[in-house]
């Protein structure tokens, strides 16, 4: 009898650990493609790019160790300063306005009305347009003589603007362009709005809350996780703005739209100065890391997680 129990327990322990062993093997097999990809195309290149940043590698030449020369050059290079300024301008004014418009659009489209799906598609349409195609289109819209933008101004008897030729205006033109691509964020916010339970609004109404109060005390707090998610991805995306500037202005006029990644592209793939390009890339990484960490640090001041209430 006692012996019998012992045998069963032992067997049970053995089968339990067999399952565990099998799960460990299977788990790693399942994630293996991703894990290999992470090593080959993320971790490996990141380590390699530190090493490359200490050399004068130009693809065709033999790399020499140059110490901190590339990093020192960053501080001497006026184009680094200009492109950092341009990109910061684009991030600081572009990201918040973009997010506010996306939120406004999501609120507007979160109505139960006939034909709302058509409106949603219309708002989403510019977002699925390839960036090259829309950039070429905007090049045409911002055309000084024949463009749509100056035609709209002329309707209000306003003078024509040199949207792409005036160094003071060109960055603002890029921000205006970005307002037409709110579709992606809008869809995520819309999904967030639709998952807010109806009974919370009913309860708020019974307590006498008006529309505005319902927005501030129900909608907004429950939407902050979606807003936070969007803000994080939008910041990282905005720091890497490239295609529009490459296609439309090529960085001009007078480097006024020379954004950081466009400059990185020039150094790496037009001058083939891979050592310096790696140093430039690492500076971007550090800047984005600081911004992201700061944003995460302040997240608990404004992002509301339901789970916290249950604790």
């Amino acid at each position: 009898m006692a012996q019998g129990t012992l045998v069963t327990t032992a067997r049970r322990r053995r089968t339990w650990s067999a399952t565990r062993w099998r799960d460990t093997r299977d788990g790693y097999l399942f994630i293996l493609p991703w894990l290999l990809g992470f090593v080959i195309w993320t971790a490996g290149p990141m380590i390699a790019s530190i090493a490359i940043a200490f050399t004068d590698w130009r693809i065709v030449t033999v790399p020499h160790f140059v110490g901190l020369a590339n990093f020192a050059a960053l501080f001497q290079d006026p184009r680094i300063r200009v492109s950092l300024f341009n990109t910061t301008f684009y991030v600081v004014f572009g990201v918040p306005t973009h997010l506010i418009f996306a939120l406004a659009a999501a609120l507007l489209l979160n109505q139960r009305r006939r034909g709302i799906a058509i409106y949603r598609t219309l708002f989403y349409l510019p977002y699925i347009t390839p960036l090259v195609a829309s950039s070429l289109l905007w090049l045409w819209i911002f055309n000084t003589n024949f463009g749509l933008a100056n035609w709209l101004l002329s309707l209000f008897r306003l003078p024509a603007i040199y949207w792409l030729e005036d160094p003071r205006v060109v960055k603002i033109s890029f921000i205006i362009m970005s307002w037409w691509t709110i579709g992606g964020q809008m869809v995520i916010l819309l999904a967030g709005l639709q998952s807010i339970p109806e009974h919370l609004y009913d309860a708020a109404s019974i307590d006498g809350a008006n529309r505005w109060q319902r927005f501030w005390h129900v909608t907004f707090p429950l939407l902050t996780p979606s807003l936070f998610f969007n803000l994080t991805l939008a910041l990282i995306g905005a720091f890497q703005v490239f295609v529009q500037a490459y296609v439309i202005t090529g960085g001009g006029p007078e480097d006024a739209s020379l954004f950081y990644v466009l400059y990185l592209y020039r150094v790496a793939f037009q001058n083939f100065d891979m050592g310096y390009a790696s140093a430039i890339a690492w500076l971007l990484f550090v800047v984005v890391l600081i911004v992201t960490l700061t944003q995460f640090r302040f997240a608990n001041r404004w992002v509301f997680y339901e789970a916290e209430l249950k604790r």
Binding site: P126, P225, V261, M274
Partner: protein, 299 residues
């Protein structure tokens, strides 16, 4: 005696006035709501409408100010012409090959990894998942240079390999994350039932989870198709012989030293956008559902 409120209303006439006011207020709000919706939607569609209009104009008439919204005369011939000015069909075929190869790889390997993270218990899982999430925050630009060097050492420049092979290794952190969140919502009872029938992990992945995850898989497929169809930077770096070009690269060739052929370029752009629009229309129900259920919305 009939003493329903209806009759009282008819007798006194007061409530009906209120009802009339209420219904006209409701009608006003309805009109206002649609006016705002239509106004904003028109604003969003304006660039696209102008694109469409320009693509149908006779060369020369696009330079009329103030702009004509309705092309006079309409020139459909711009579309066939655009196919010949640049080798458009060859570019389209190249883009299609890349998109199909990369999207297939993404669906296969991202769903495998997502299943591992969502359903299989193994040591180190949480740590690796945090690692995966942190790569979401990594700017792609940082790995641009070493990746280029790696691919040029492998003699992969001017092949589609740099644009497709990486998709077969995990298919992007964002897609793994999205699918993992979705898999988490599928009840465990189904796994247990399959396990009692003797199914292993792979069997559960293939015959239980995948068939139940069509909305999330289609959302990932759409993201991947869009990304690859529209990608500009990677083809720009890895393809530098015209016969390998994608549509995104090819569109620029309507700009030349002799000036820009706006009408033909816009026709080509419309033809590049159209497949994406059709795709979005066809799959939008799955798509929004997929995003909603994955907890991307924050819950």
């Amino acid at each position: 005696m009939d003493t329903s409120p209806d009759l009282l209303v008819r007798v006194t006439g007061r409530a009906s006035l209120e009802a009339y006011a209420r219904s006209s207020y409701r009608a006003l709000r309805l009109v206002l709501a649609y006016a705002v919706l239509t106004g904003c939607a028109l604003g969003m569609a304006l660039p696209f409408l102008w694109l469409l209009s320009t693509s149908l104009k006779v060369e020369g008439t696009e330079f009329v100010f103030p702009p004509q919204w309705l092309p006079q005369p309409v020139r459909w011939q711009n579309y066939p012409d655009a196919l010949h000015v640049v080798p458009y069909l060859a570019y389209a075929r190249n883009t299609l090959v890349i998109t199909v190869a990369a999207t297939t790889g993404t669906l296969v390997t991202a769903s495998l990894a997502a299943f591992g993270f969502a359903r299989v218990r193994f040591p180190g899982r949480n740590l690796l998942f945090i690692l995966l999430l942190s790569t979401l925050m990594l700017p792609d630009a940082v790995t641009l240079v070493p990746k280029y060097i790696l691919f040029s050492r492998l003699h992969w420049i001017n092949t589609y390999l740099p644009l497709t092979v990486p998709a077969w290794f995990g298919g992007g952190a964002f897609n793994v994350f999205l699918l993992r969140q979705f898999f988490m919502t599928v009840p465990y009872d189904l796994d247990e039932a399959a396990r009692i029938d003797g199914a292993g992990n792979f069997r559960i992945y293939w015959s239980v989870l995948l068939p139940l995850s069509k909305p999330a898989l289609s959302a990932v497929a759409i993201f991947s198709i869009q990304y690859n169809w529209n990608d500009f930077l990677n083809p720009l770096i890895y393809l530098n012989q015209q016969q390998y070009f994608t549509l995104a690269l090819g569109l620029q060739f309507f700009q030349s030293e002799y000036g820009t052929q706006w009408t033909l370029m816009m026709a080509a752009a419309v033809m590049m956008i159209l497949p994406m629009v059709v795709l979005f229309f066809a799959a939008q129900r799955f798509f929004i559902q997929g995003i909603q259920l994955t907890g991307l919305a924050g819950r």
